[in-house]
Symmetry: C2
Subunit: 371 residues, 2 copies
Amino acid sequence: MPIVNTKSIEDKRKTGIRFIDCDIHNEVPSNEVLKQYLPTRWKNYMDMVGLRGYHGFVQNIPYPKGNPGGTRADAWLPNGQIPGSDLKFMQEQLLDPLNMEIGILNCLYRVGEQLNDEYGAALARAVNDWQMAEWLDKEPRLRASIVIPYENADLAVEEINRRASHPGFVQVLFMPRTREPMGRRKYWKIFEAAENHGLPIAIHFGGLGGNAITSSGFPSFYIEDHTDMAQAFQCQVISMVCEGVFERFSNLQTVMLEGGFAWVPSLMWRLDKHWKRLREEVPFLKRKPSEYIRGHMRFTTQPIEEPPVQDYLLQVIDHLGSDDMLMFATDYPHWDYDAPDHTFRGKFPETLKQKIFYENARSLYRFPEKE
Amino acid sequence: MPIVNTKSIEDKRKTGIRFIDCDIHNEVPSNEVLKQYLPTRWKNYMDMVGLRGYHGFVQNIPYPKGNPGGTRADAWLPNGQIPGSDLKFMQEQLLDPLNMEIGILNCLYRVGEQLNDEYGAALARAVNDWQMAEWLDKEPRLRASIVIPYENADLAVEEINRRASHPGFVQVLFMPRTREPMGRRKYWKIFEAAENHGLPIAIHFGGLGGNAITSSGFPSFYIEDHTDMAQAFQCQVISMVCEGVFERFSNLQTVMLEGGFAWVPSLMWRLDKHWKRLREEVPFLKRKPSEYIRGHMRFTTQPIEEPPVQDYLLQVIDHLGSDDMLMFATDYPHWDYDAPDHTFRGKFPETLKQKIFYENARSLYRFPEKE
């Protein structure tokens, strides 16, 4: 597990590299904290049911200590509080040493997966209010994703409309394991609302919509789950493109968080080839699938694929056909955190680094240019 | 849909390129033909039930005319018989014009997916007997896969043992949408039998094990299904490696048919990276995941990914870290057939072409070297 290497960060500063971190996780420290933002009905419901998702089981707060899907050992607070749950600690461990200009919070509290739609909507309101009060209004370097009950488009749109005007919220958050492929019409109202507010749709590793992660059911090991997650993203890329989402919502942008990117070229080639022969099935597509991907999809770097020869990554970026598509992310405070000096270890052109570490995100989120 | 371009094939002959086609489909022409190879009990069962797979519905013979998942329009016989069902027609349309030295038949009759295990086993016996009588014993250029009821390992092993001694059978056939990820122990007896007989495990596009093809359920369009199938293969690669199949069966080889290959490097990089940090979960793996993939997995070329710049494919082959892993296939007589002149349109080194068109398959299947 790489940790922040202060020396190399100082080296980076000399080169003038600036950072926007597109994937930081703020964690609700406990259900007790969240209850302060919930009305009585849902406070009582939380005490009775906890969380209950598409597995049907009652589940408690995510990321228990020691969870292998969890967190950096050094990110636990001295008082035992869970990683990512304290602003001051995050400032000291991440924002200050990396001299981060902007960091985007993606809170993974499982609001989007609640079988009880109304409860999911109440949790979304509570988490977003907590994000405003405890994070955005206290730290100007931070931005956040609006969390939504994404399996119910009407309730999700209500929450987007309620919070989109706060300048700290810069996108709308999904997880890739949705109930249906994301291009399907049940999600279109959400895309419409996001587009109307100029907010990208972000999709972050995880989720559970009731289906196994593979087309052959559940794999035995966590290492498989984590590797298979790339396929969960691939299906969503294919679905959103093939359903014509970007013809219908031509200003919509999407951000794929923690799914990797080295698989994107081969997917574009396969899909373009099939489209040439099967385009009659999707006549509303006016352009090649790869053009929608290049024009409407961004991918964050963490966990960056690590080829044995670093130049291969440069070739893969070449294969993407655009150097606008990649954006830097650390995934702080999770176990597979990528430090900036880890992300590009080979000889990467400085202009490309600057685009990936900073400029591509600045441009997508329309953050003002500073000197 | 590319068709055979005789002129360019003649050009290929001049360059001395030799062909082994690793994926040809022979089709059972009708249930009436198959019934000649079935005992009375199962003949009657076929009349009553037809085929019944992991969707639970009664299903009839695959590839009805006009099926978009189907066949080349020019491969239908003049008498209306389904493509791939007649040896003479296949000789005239494929083997002779391409001057094919060896072609491997993968019969996709759905024996592996029958919910009734005993019926699946009876169908496997019938299909393999039909393959011997109608194809292998009549045409020395052809080889075939043993079809098996792969969801029941005991019955599958019986069938492998029954037919492995026939020199025309060169591998054992699965489809990637199995009931469980293929690395799991329920399939190990099959791997053991295949290894004992020196037969690779082939996995061909298709199948249905009861799970949706994506982790978000069923996609709307066939173009998605066809593109998502690459992910079905990816999960199997990950599962077989992570479960230690190639530690347990160190002489076992596998062949991935019609799943593409340009995604393999990025999968190796992601999996190797996770293994470095999570290897305690799979302590029986003695080597990096990518080493098992390179040592035990082969991928056929059709449908070959088609990048906008042909040199990218050469770079991808470079990223594989081995030029032994790819083998040529046409997928005759299906709609997305790749002619040899279509497979490598750019400037490919002749030695690499010779390996992919011929030598890698010759070596894997231990076909004797001819002058």
